[in-house]
Every structure is written in C-alpha cells, then in structure tokens.
Symmetry: D3
Subunit: 178 residues, 6 copies
C-alpha cells in the first residue's frame, strides 16, 4: 500500500500559523526551518478570517507579507498556502494535506496541532524558538493601535504591505468608539 502514497522527501516539512501579522520572530523561525528542510510549506491558518481586532488581515495580505519578506531574506524553498478552517478537527489533517505540497515533518509548538498530526502518523518537531517575550502578533497589533513603534518588530516588507493597505487605519477603525 505504501506505493499508493506520494513519495516524500524525508526533509519536506510544514509549519502553520495565523501570521497576524508576520513578524521578526516568525521570520527567524522560518529561516531555521528553511535550512533544515529540502522544501517546506508555510500554511496561513484561519485563512477566511479578517477584519477583526485579533485577525485584522486577509489571507492575501498575509501571503504578500510573507512572500515579500522571504524574497528579501533569500529564502527560495518555501511554498505558501492559505488554509481555511473547517471547524471539525477530525478532518483537519486531511484538509491541510490536500491543500499543501507533500511533507513528512510538522513543526509546531501548539498542542492541538501536534496531537492531530501525531495521531495521523506524522513526525512532530518543536518549532524553532524565538524570543516570545519580544515578538508576538498581539504585541504588534497593540502597538499599531497605540501609535507606538511596531515597525521595529516586523520585516520591512511587512511594514510596506501594512502601509500600502492602511493597516493601521483598519486596526483603529475596528475598535468601537461611538
């Protein structure tokens, strides 16, 4: 039966995140995964959600943030794939697999993601760590709302995309102040 399955390189891998927005910590993680992998997929999770204070950016906007940052950083072995939530975890692994180029290893520090791929027979590795106290999507969003220096936390390409789409205006516009 083995031969029914796609041949996968031992070192093809997957990492999934929401990337709201993509920040320097994400970039650091991905640079390490890029080195350890033949090819790897960056899944943009919760792809259908946007325009809320926790998920301000569309999948397309996040795609461009990531693609432009990787180009600047010289990463050329990544596939970027928006992945919509199906909201039934029992089929989530199959769904991700169907949307993504093949992979053998899953990088994740999220317990649910780890468990689901573990039950499905995938190899799980800890996601390379970055300074979480310093970099987090929540902190970037907080700074955007309060006109503090958020650009220092994200790659230049991300700042450009956010400026292009008036992302700060959107963030502020989503807060109810009437």
């Amino acid at each position: 039966m083995m031969n029914m399955r796609p041949r996968k390189h031992e070192k093809d891998s997957l990492i999934i995140g929401r990337f709201q927005p993509f920040h320097n910590g994400h970039l650091e993680t991905i640079l390490k995964i890029s080195e350890e992998s033949e090819e790897f997929t960056i899944g943009i999770g919760s792809a259908q959600y946007s325009h809320t204070s926790n998920n301000p950016f569309t999948a397309g906007e996040r795609y461009r943030m990531i693609a432009d940052s990787l180009k600047d950083a010289g990463v050329d072995n990544a596939y970027i794939v928006p992945i919509e939530d199906l909201n039934r975890y029992s089929v989530w692994v199959s769904h991700v697999v169907s949307m993504s180029p093949p992979f053998t290893v899953v990088y994740s520090n999220n317990s649910l993601t780890r468990r689901l791929f573990l039950e499905a027979g995938y190899k799980i590795r800890d996601s390379p760590l970055y300074k979480r106290s310093e970099y987090s999507g929540r902190e970037v969003r907080r700074r955007m709302l309060h006109d503090e220096n958020w650009k220092i936390l994200v790659p230049k390409a991300v700042a450009d995309v956010i400026d292009d789409i008036d992302g700060v205006g959107r963030m502020k516009g989503l807060v109810d102040d009437v």
Copy 2:
C-alpha cells in the same frame, strides 16, 4: 476613499484555472503573463475538489506541479494560491481578492470570470492563447486513462509529480469497472 484601498501596481495581475493537470499550454500562457506583469497571482480554482475523473488532483498536488514547473522555467514573479469554490457567484470576486495578493488586471477567456470581475471594476484582458486543439486538461486525462503518451503534453516537473503520487493509478482507479 481611494486611499482606503491597497495601492496596486498597474501591472499586477491574476489568472485562475483548475489546472487538472497543469500542461504546456498553461505554461505558455503564464510565461507571457509573467512578462507583462510586475507580479501576478495564479489562482488554483475549485481547490477543495479532487479524486473525480474531471478533477483528479488535490490543490496541494496541483500547487507542486505549478511551482516546480515555474522554477524550471525561471519564473519568479508569481504567487500561487489555492482558491476554494464558495458556490455563490455574487461574493466570488471578494473571496478571490481576500485570498490573493493585490492585482489590477484579470486575464481570462472564461465568460463568467470576465463578467464577475468586470462588474466589480477590474480590467479584463484576454488570456494569451495557446493551441487549444493540442493542449487541454481533458486530453491529458484521456491519455492517462488509455496509456497513451500524455507526458509530451505537460512540463517535466508535472510528469514527475504525477509519477510520485501514482496519478495514473488514481485516474484508472476512479473509473468504475465492477
């Protein structure tokens, strides 16, 4: 209000297809779009469908076919985005826009696609033509089923992916012969 919208390059464009599978005609079209565009998005339509005789391959499999073919052809200004059907055309343009990096021009020869983007205010261009009599997904699939020479119709990278996943076996397995 204009400044609410993302600034888009005049020459950022979009093309959408099902790519079941990606063939030489698609590649020819994309090479021309690549030249005419600053950056462009290749949308993989009907992304959630697979394993039928008309839609045999998953979005992830089609993603790899396209990405590997473009790498071989030296195309480096394309974004590849799987796009699920929502089955309500009135919101389809918004859905595509939310999943894709920004674009100004839409290449399409499909009347529905053209009409929907036209009503939404996009520029429509005819998709660069290739010899349809020679290249078509339908013809590739027919040849796969009948052990005729289908590899001559697709980029080498596509043939490799299809071999990797035993695509011919799947095609034949989907035909009822009991």
Copy 3:
C-alpha cells in the same frame, strides 16, 4: 466601467441591525432615515439565529415586527431583507449587496460595519441617534425575563407579535433552571 454598475439614487440607503427585538429607538432612527432617503433597506442581520437568550426571535418574527411597525408609522419607502451571517467578513459587503436592493449610503455606528463598507467604497453616515440609555434590545429582553414593563419600550405592533408567538414564554423557557 461605471455603466456596468446599477444606477443608484444618491439617496438610497441601508441600515442593518439584529432587532432582538425591534424597539422604539430603532423606530426613531428609521423614521429619520426614511425622511433622508429616496428608498432604503432595513437588513435583519444574523438572520439564521434564534432561540438563544441574546437572539430569541427568528428572522421571520423580526420581519413581521418591523413591517407592522412601519405600516403603523406610515413608512412606505423601506425594503426589509433578512441577511444571514456568512462568518467571513471579507465577503460580507458583497453578500449584503447581493441580497439587498441597491443603495449608496450606509447608516451605521458599528465600527466593523463602517470599516467594511468604507473599504468597499460606500458613503458612511452616523446612524441617527436615539436615547441608548433608555432603549436597547438587551433592556427589553431583561424586562421580559423579569416580568417588568417591556411593552413601553417597543412599538405596539411588536408587542402584538411577541404576544402572538408567546415570546415571553420562549425567553423564560430558554433559561436553565433545572
């Protein structure tokens, strides 16, 4: 391209609410919008939800509350449209547009609604204010639960509909007391 779009009167407008239930504050707002508009649409949001303590009434019940109240108040330039949530904001404007007669202006004090229509190029106006401290759906529902005088907060037609469907019984029945 402009001529692809429906010609809309400058003064055709939209207002969206959940109307759980429709109360005197809503009526006051709508009387003002009715005066300022050629024709206008009242969208009944979250149309598919009902039978919870925050959303007790079905879209059909809310439709009748509004229609009967407007008839009593002599408003004859309103379209009433139930609108289901799609739970993906990026296509929400297109969805509303597809379900509603055409409009140019959107009345709203809700930040998300304002932002989404703003990004889509619509004119936004503040919704005419009523005394929020006095009128609110939450307060009407609270009074219904505690047998306080809720009828003073709603148009007579609304009280009639709620009596017809034993709305108070439903509200109380939804509270767990076992």
Copy 4:
C-alpha cells in the same frame, strides 16, 4: 401545546419562486393570491444564486423587481423574503418558516414544495394559473439573449430594473463565445 405556536390568520399564505426574472404571469398569480389572503409572503427562492444563465439576477435585484411591480399594481399586503437554499430538504420547511412571517396556506404547483409542506401539516392550494405557454422565465431570458421583445412579458418596473443593472449585457456576457 397549541398555544406555543404563533396565532396565524386562516388566510395568511406563502408563495415561493425563483423569479428569474419576475414576469407578467407571476404578477397575475400574485394579484389573485393578494385578494385571497389577509397577508402573504413572497419567498425569493435560491436566493444565493446569480450570474448563471438560468439564475442571472441576485436576490436583491429580484427583490426590487417584485417590490416595484407590486407598488405599481397597488398590492400592499405582501412581505418579500429572500430565502437561501440549504440543500437538505428535510429541514427546508423549518428554514422557510424561520425566515418568513407566519402563514397557514401554501400556494404551489411544484410537487416537491407541495409534498414537503404537506408532510409538515400545511394547507396546500394550487397556485393560480397563468398562461404558461406565454409567460415563463426561460422565455424571457431567451428573448433577452436574442434581442427579441422581452419587455412585453414583464411589468414595466422589471424592465426598468433590468435596464438599470444592464441585465441584458450580463445575460449576454455569461455566454461563452471565445
């Protein structure tokens, strides 16, 4: 248990159609139902579909066609309600009931609609007949495509809406001619 149910007038009724587009036959039917009913609901079925050759118009466009035609005809006891297909017939009656003001009688000549409401305990009446050989949505659409006189088959208000939205252009644009 009877008192749990909304009190409904004996003569409140429902009629459902796709109205692609609303034509003189529909109007004739509705004039008769208007006379026989205290109040009645016109359900716009398949509300989420549009932009296909069989379902060219959005629910909002169809809503305006109907509302404007009824205003011209002096009908003032109709509720108009877009109703999305759920594609599971076993819950369809409940869905319609939840979206519509209450009704006792269902007018329909469609066997499935009749059967579903019959099993749910509703009174079914034959829909008042009009000359089907003369008036049909299919015929109106055919004439629009071929520049024949379609306006004679629809109320003036419908022709105005279709002109406003360039409906003929859309119909023609949906036909593949590449």
Copy 5:
C-alpha cells in the same frame, strides 16, 4: 506512533451504501459480512438527502429499515451510522472514520470508495455479490411508482417502515404532474 492509533480487531469492517431503500440484496451482502467480521459498521451515506426521486427516504427512516431488518435476521454485531456527505473527497475518509466505530477492512465495489480508502491505507475487499439484475434500489423505487410488486424485493421490516411513513405516497408526490 502505532500506539497512538486505536487498537482495532483484524476483522472489524465497514460497508457504506445509500440504501434507498434497503433491499434483499443489501441484506444478503450484510449477512455475509456479519459472518466474516468481529463487528462491523453499516454507514448510511448521503445522510442529509431525502425527498427526491433518487433519495426518497431520510437517514432516520433508512436507519429503522436496516435496524429492524437486522433484528429479524438475528444480526447482532452491526453498528449503524448515518454519514453526511461533505462534498470534498480529500477529507471523506477522515470524516467516515470520525463518525464510525473503528474498522480495518472496507467492503466496497465502488471505485471511488475503494480508491479513497486504499490511498488512506485500508484493506479493501470486494463487497459480497448479490444478484444485481434482480435487486436494486432503482428497481424498488420504480415499482413503488408504478404500483408493481416492490415488497417482494425488500425485507418485511422495510415494507412495514415504508407503509408506516406512506413512502409510496411520498414517491408519487415527488413526481411533477401539474
């Protein structure tokens, strides 16, 4: 990783059908599977569909047909599970697995079912054959419509359920004769 997976008996199996309605051929097949299995699941496919000429009966009605027939036949090692279609085949196996008690073997003569479970690593066996020329859901439905002897093709318990719910009336009611 093996120990992450549920321990399954070698001889636990699955069979899926639409059972519109359950007939003597189905029963014959299931008697053989019952003998060959420790325990087995009967999946009622397309569970959400009913009230069409090809899918007249609800999942609940089909459940009772099967359960009562098995009781009469003395089969006591079957689990019966309604399974809704998700309409994306790439996650279908995961969906079935999540709804069903565990199984190792899949009985099927349907090419798509066989292929999907094969790619997921399950053992496939041919479904025990019955005289298809004699027994088929289509033939039973045809006879019901034409008042021919359909009861001879189904277990007595099935005929009882169909009589109970006026299944013949429903079948005839679904045919358009206006």
Copy 6:
C-alpha cells in the same frame, strides 16, 4: 393530514447528549428510559466535534462507548445516532427528526432542547435524574487529566474504549504546556 405523518408508538422516545465521555450517570438514565420506552434513540450531539478539552472524543468513539455499555447492560431497544450541529436552532428539530428513527417523547433537562421540541409539538419529559454531584463528563475529564481514578465513574466498556484509543494521552496532549 395526520396520515401523512409516520405512525409512531406512544412510547418511542429520544434522548440527546454529548457523552464526553459516556458515564455511569448516563447509563442509569438510559436504563430507566429503556424500561419506559418501546424503542428509543440515543442522539450523540455535536457529532462533528472532537479533540478539544471539552469535546475530546469523536462521534465514532462515543458510539462505541455507548453501544458496548448497552450490550453489557442488556439494553436491546436503543438506536444510536450521531447528530451533527447545524448551528441554526430554528431547523434543529427537523434535522434531528430526519436523522433519527421516529419518536413521540423527548427526555431532556436542557432548557433549549425542551423549548425547541415543545414549540414543534413534542411531549417533553424530565430526564430521569442521577446524582449529578457525583457523575459528570466534566469530572471524568478532570480526573483523566490529573491521573485520578476516573474509571470508577464510567462503565467498564467505556474505560476499555478510552484505553484502546489512548484517550488519556489525547486529553493530556490537548493541554498547552510549551
């Protein structure tokens, strides 16, 4: 019209729960319902959810827990039916009815369930009580997480299923500890 409806035994009943997991209190309740009913359906609610701390087990796993426990307890008049949430309460009763063998009586202590079936004309009975302070899904899950004696709270068959699927490992794996 009465004769359109399925003939139902006065004593056919329904009980719905999430059964995360099935415990001794559930069993006690069901033994009483089994005695009071001709036949009865056990609906496994929220069937599509699993792998969260509040809903750890799939519908299939819960099905086997219940079926095996009932077999051990000698209950032979129960139908077990997984029922997916549709997340629109106005059609929920119709949905349950379509998935389940027919029933007249609904056992429930949940206010929403009672209200929805009450409005639809069903007989509601209090669910036979068990010692809630002693038995609850929440308490079983808590003990599993903390290696306390949870097996004393569930039927032996349930403990066996949970051991088979390494349910405790899953519960612990779902808790974030990175």
